[in-house]
Symmetry: C2
């Protein structure tokens, strides 16, 4: 039942007694000797996934939406974990009661990816065999491994068909991997601001970020958990990331050549321009919340992502022809430009899938998929509405 939309907006955008509270849960599986076998051939277990759910699973378990987060995201997609939290989840503008991904109607699941550091097993987790953090002894994980782990969670939740998979960027890669690997479990999918294969330029940026981390002497070969860790290298890595998330146009509009807290040039290296302060701030903030080794592992998983590798595209697949797609790109996204989305669309169409495609006019670069945008809201809510009506009866 959909609530009155005014009430719904008030419910989730502000902090009052009617606040949407969510709970972080944990699911552990692959206990030895039943470790999960990874793409590399390595075995990993036990594995814990942190996850959150919003809304209620309906009787025939047909209203599940799996949201896949991007590179540095987490399971906390919307609402508040505590009443006094300052900020809601990372996609609170999209997910919640009365919002495009309407939790009054859909059962929304979001889990932290394997290899991350936000509650799921990753390089900063304790290796039960040694009692110490894995560090670089953590096996390399791929996007497929992340999806493989999510599949365990979805099975655990008793869901055999996912009404829709939604994710942007690295989340979009997971969406596509879900579709190629478990097409019979997928009704529909919305890959946003993503690609079927990581380009040389995207690999290049990730490699520079990794080198920045590994060049920091406090990285200590990844075994830094009893020290300060590679704070400087991680900050530089994040700054590189942020340059790629914005666009030339976004930066011009957001900062231009405006000076930060001064009237004239400083003639020193303290930082003159707002764009410099912004990047430094983003770098410093990130150091307090994210693990440097997780950056190494997740960027590498993205770099390895390639649905076109080997003998023909993984997207050419009979079962996949029954999945409905809404593919979305953004005009100013130069990390995963529209030509890459068009390539995805053309392969999906060739495969006979039902595909809608929209390139949204937005100046904000790759970040656009996370920013409030009525056009994006309408596209997603309309698509979900159709899928729900077609596949979820009543």
């Amino acid at each position: 039942m959909k609530r009155d939309s005014e009430e719904a907006v008030a419910d989730c955008g502000t902090k009052r007694s009617g606040i949407l509270l969510v709970e972080r849960k944990y699911f552990t599986f692959a206990e030895p000797p039943h470790e999960m076998v990874l793409d590399s051939g390595a075995r990993l277990g036990p594995i814990t996934l942190a996850y959150e759910t919003l809304g209620e699973l309906n009787e025939d378990r047909s209203n599940a939406i799996l949201v896949l987060h991007a590179f540095s995201g987490d399971s906390h997609v919307a609402g508040y974990l505590r009443e006094n939290d300052e900020r809601p989840g990372w996609w609170d503008n999209m997910v919640g009661p009365g919002k495009p991904v309407d939790t009054d109607r859909y059962f929304v699941i979001c889990s932290n990816i394997l290899g991350s550091c936000m509650g799921s097993t990753g390089p900063s987790s304790i290796n039960p065999r040694t009692g110490r953090p894995y560090g670089l002894s953590f096996p390399m994980v791929t996007i497929r491994d992340m999806v493989r782990a999510q599949k365990h969670l979805i099975d655990h939740l008793g869901i055999s068909r996912i009404m829709c998979l939604i994710g942007g960027s690295v989340g979009g890669m997971q969406v596509l991997r879900w579709c190629t690997d478990y097409p019979e479990m997928v009704v529909s999918a919305i890959p946003l601001a993503t690609t079927t294969r990581h380009s040389a330029q995207a690999i290049a940026f990730n490699e520079v970020a990794r080198q920045a981390i590994m060049a920091d002497p406090d990285w200590k070969g990844g075994d830094y958990y009893d020290g300060p860790g590679p704070r400087h290298g991680l900050a530089v890595a994040r700054m590189i990331g942020h340059v790629t998330y914005l666009s030339d146009e976004a930066m011009r509009e957001k900062f231009g050549r405006r000076l930060q807290s001064r009237r004239s040039l400083s003639y020193d290296f303290g930082g003159d321009f707002q764009v410099e302060s912004y990047l430094r701030h983003q770098g410093e903030k990130f150091v307090d919340r994210f693990d440097a080794n997780s950056v190494l592992y997740i960027t590498k998983a993205a770099d390895y992502f390639d649905l076109e590798a080997g003998n023909g595209s993984s997207l050419i697949n009979e079962a996949l022809a029954r999945v409905s797609f809404l593919v979305i790109s953004f005009t100013s996204d130069w990390l995963y430009p529209t030509y890459q989305a068009r390539n995805l669309v053309s392969v999906l169409k060739k495969n006979g899938s039902d595909v809608s495609f929209c390139e949204i006019e937005a100046p904000w670069g790759h970040d656009a998929f996370l920013l409030p945008n009525p056009h994006l809201d309408d596209l997603i809510s309309g698509f979900l509405d159709r899928i729900y009506n077609e596949h979820c009866g009543q």
Copy 2:
């Protein structure tokens, strides 16, 4: 006199007895108490500029071409410094006997910029007051200060009118500064792959590069000249630079997702892809030839560059209306995109200057201005021909 072109090509592209030998010279000026006053108000002296010349200055001293090098370039623009040198100067495909910038006809000068480390005074130079390298006690220099120093050299060479200024990237900024500051000395100018003001995105990349250097503990506040220096940070800074010098398309064509020296993914952080190896190699090579503090100073000079700042454009200037321009941009240059060149052209036209503009179709990104390109050759040689015939007629 133009030589037979076949002979000329053989002369400069290969290493044989007829090799074009050039000599690095030094000019020192601004001896205390006559230091040069910089934009910041600081005084600097003595100042040495390393420079090279090719060809002969004609009798009426009207055939001088000043080539302005880019960020990490040097005075060695063409030919060989020693008979057994492996490689010629950085623009040997453009400058030499029978080449577009024909040293049989023109007198070509190229000097290393102030603040660099390739023979001219910069942060790695010995401060005569202390007997130790300047390090961060070197004053901040601007593009205008670089040009101011070059002006001393041109005066010293007895040249009052420069037939043409040519430079790409940071060299193009110097071209434009020459035009705004000494228009009466300039007959014509070819700014290539450059801008009238450094964009927020370009500042962002430079700032990340600077942070990578300054985050390296071996940087030691810039006072590292008795130690190894910030080798890791400098390598990362250079890798960032190289990503911006290429384009998405260039990287796709040059590297794609090809693996380096292996048949399958490594599942470790040693580097899988050719693009990773390329960037690491570029980073390591740079560390052996360039000073990290010079990177800080020159990037900052570029970031400060803004001909539109203050009370109206510096390009709106009566004397400048008598300068002829050939403005060139490259389709895939996303560091200084064509819209920035178009902006320059429109201001110059508004000012009444004679302006030709060409956007060259080239997939190689910002690097395109340095790569052999017959179209670029034709444009430059044709423009120089016209200017020579109009202004240097004997």
